[in-house]
């Protein structure tokens, strides 16, 4: 064997990973560094010249009403959507975990919304919820309820997009918690029952503690992806009416594209980046089982 071949062989792992690394450098690392940089400049979308202004953009947005409004909407949106998804999903998972005929059919039916493009799903709901020709308001009227114009009424718009988010992502929670539940060996339940535990004790002392890592994993995915969420709002409400549904994510794009303030949009993104990083770090430790 030549020395060249040997050196090649020793570096096989690096060689195999190299193409992927180069690509990631281009589509992720470079843009992120660029975003860091522009967030400290007064770069505009349609101009190539810019000045370095240190933390000027950050000072700007942290003192702006728009930013704090978007933070408020985001917090409300994420808390409501993820909260409902977790509760509803856990409930569904528990129901599907019992002795059940047709579990695989239910699994498929519940899976479907998750596989729809959220943007398209938002269109479908927009037509269902349409005040003049949608079926929802018609059906409610049949039972005597005069429903609002869900997506265009400033009182209901936020809850409506939360509802659409819940429709899309409750299945995620349900399916993964179901898998978590089913990975607890049947033996554990039998042992507990022979040991004398009743159904509630089994749930509280055996099921729940062992499911906690999975619950945190699901929470991590949902929190992060919900904060990053953009499609539903962009299609269903465009942040409106007014700014009722303008989340951080949406505000960042408005700042960048509509207002062409590339520097400020960068500051928005970097802020979100740190929020997501913080949440990931916090939850990631809880995902690993403490007793192993």
């Amino acid at each position: 064997m030549t020395t060249f071949m040997k050196r090649l062989q020793a570096n096989v792992p690096t060689l195999l990973a190299l193409p992927s690394i180069i690509l990631v450098m281009m589509i992720a690392i470079y843009p992120i560094l660029y975003a860091f940089y522009t967030s400290m400049t007064d770069q505009l979308l349609n101009q190539s010249k810019s000045n370095f202004i240190w933390f000027g953009n950050y000072v700007n947005i942290f003192t702006s009403r728009v930013f704090w409004h978007a933070v408020g909407v985001s917090v409300k949106y994420v808390a409501l959507a993820v909260g409902i998804e977790m509760l509803l999903g856990f409930g569904l998972a528990l129901l599907m975990n019992g002795a059940l005929r047709g579990r695989s059919l239910f699994r498929i039916l519940i899976l479907l919304p998750l596989m729809l493009p959220p943007a398209t799903g938002a269109m479908m709901w927009a037509s269902l919820l349409d005040p003049s020709l949608g079926w929802v308001n018609y059906a409610l009227l049949q039972i005597g309820i005069h429903a609002p114009a869900w997506l265009s009424d400033s009182g209901t718009a936020l809850y409506s997009v939360v509802g659409i988010d819940v429709y899309h992502f409750t299945p995620f929670v349900a399916l993964i918690l179901l898998a978590g539940l089913q990975s607890i060996p049947r033996l554990q339940y039998e042992v507990a029952e022979v040991d004398g535990a009743n159904a509630w004790q089994v749930f509280r002392l055996v099921t729940l503690p062992q499911l906690m890592p999975t619950i945190f994993l699901v929470l991590l995915f949902r929190l992060v992806l919900c904060i990053n969420g953009y499609d539903v709002i962009n299609v269903a409400t465009k942040g409106g009416p007014g700014d009722v549904t303008t989340t951080l994510s949406f505000q960042a794009s408005v700042t960048g594209y509509r207002n062409m303030l590339l520097g400020q949009a960068g500051a928005y993104s970097i802020f979100m980046f740190f929020v997501v990083l913080f949440i990931s770090k916090k939850l990631f430790n809880r995902v690993t089982r403490s007793w192993i």
Partner: protein, 371 residues
């Protein structure tokens, strides 16, 4: 303390697949009863029906005088030890042992006292704070046993408790379980597929195959008079030699003859029954410990060739080729033959004969469900 009674117990899955057929059995108070058989023989299913983890298709199970068919597991006053230990991975050793007491709302002081006492019995006092993932297999099984005895139940059910352990640990746990059962005196049903284990520990053994009881008896009974070919082949280490052949008459003596082997039948009880059989085909069983390899020929010995050899310390197992048959024989520890060496086998009169068709020991008739 209670006896356990199986009365005409059947277990049928999906309305037609049979797991246990007409099981009638009494495990006496204080008795150590082993259910022994290959996987799929119905032994675990039977145990799980006692525990209430498996429904009963037909028949009645009693613990003491009480029919338990419709009682939930937690209402049966039993404790169970499992092959894969069944420990709660998220609880410490202490909390695992305390679990059955906690769910019964026993006071913390009392729990502490009882866990302390039990952990001493099974020698766990130093590792009560650890988690199951930090324990070795032997320790895990001791935790599982501690969790069973801490409740002081009427009945212990052991489901292959030491199958996962290595040889050294298995030997140690065998003694511990045996000692525990002798001192606590609790009735115990012990399921295993390992005949060495059942033979070593049990007061009585129930041999099962294909959902049906084959033989019930003490270890000595099973070793000395196997009811049928299945029991004969399943029990004993090294396993019994099984040879198919014919009965022939030679100079007024009844002989067994196969492809290479010829032995005279000397047991009068066997002769009496074998004389009456129409079909000359017969299956011979003889334990390796009843076949002695010799260097020199004797008047009754059969020539053979050494095919394999295993020294075991104080005895050796010699695999021999006799004609077309391969037989195992047991020799003393000073017998060290070479492979291929011609030797001579001395057969004791301890022969077992089995009907070719029914597979039953000719001395036992063909009744199902002995005992």
């Amino acid at each position: 303390m209670s006896s356990i009674t199986f009365q005409k117990i059947w277990k049928i899955y999906n309305k037609k697949v049979l797991a246990v057929r007409d099981l009638n059995l009494v495990c006496q108070d204080h008795e150590f009863l082993a259910l022994l058989g290959p996987s799929g023989c119905g032994k675990t299913t039977s145990l799980r029906m006692v525990a209430g983890l498996e429904g009963i298709t037909a028949g009645e199970i009693k613990i003491g005088d009480k029919v338990v068919n419709d009682l939930r597991p937690r209402e049966r006053d039993i404790a169970m030890v499992y092959e894969s230990y069944g420990l709660y991975p998220h609880l410490s050793v202490y909390d695992n042992i305390a679990f059955p007491l906690r769910v019964r709302h026993i006071a913390d002081e009392e729990i502490k006292r009882r866990v302390g006492r039990v952990s001493e019995i099974v020698d766990l006092q130093d590792i009560l704070g650890r988690f199951p993932s930090e324990l070795g297999d032997g320790q895990k099984q001791r935790v599982s046993i501690a969790r069973a005895i801490v409740r002081e139940p009427a009945v212990f059910l052991f489901d292959e408790p030491i199958s996962h352990l290595d040889e050294t640990l298995r030997r140690r746990m065998r003694k511990e379980i045996k000692h525990l059962q002798s001192t606590l005196g609790t009735t115990m049903i012990y399921v295993t597929h390992d005949q060495i284990e059942a033979m070593a520990m049990a007061d009585r053994i129930v041999v099962m195959d294909q959902g049906v009881v084959q033989q019930v008896g003490t270890p000595e009974d099973l070793f000395d008079s196997p009811a049928n070919l299945f029991c004969a082949g399943f029990i004993g280490e090294p396993p019994m030699n099984i040879v198919t052949g014919k009965l022939v008459r030679e100079a007024e003596r009844l002989m067994f003859q196969s492809n290479g082997l010829k032995l005279s039948v000397t047991n009068p009880a066997q002769i009496q029954i074998l004389e009456t059989m129409r079909n000359p085909d017969i299956v011979l069983g003889i334990r390796p410990s009843h076949v002695a390899p010799k260097v020199e020929a004797t008047a009754t010995s059969v020539p053979a060739e050494v095919y394999g050899f295993e020294p075991h310390g104080d005895y050796n197992i010699v695999t021999c080729k006799v004609g077309a048959e391969v037989l195992l024989a047991v020799s003393g520890s000073d017998f060290f033959p070479d492979l291929g060496q011609p030797i001579h086998l001395e057969f004791s009169s301890n022969l077992h004969f089995f009907d070719v068709n029914t597979k039953w020991n000719v001395l036992k008739g063909q009744g199902a469900n002995h005992g």
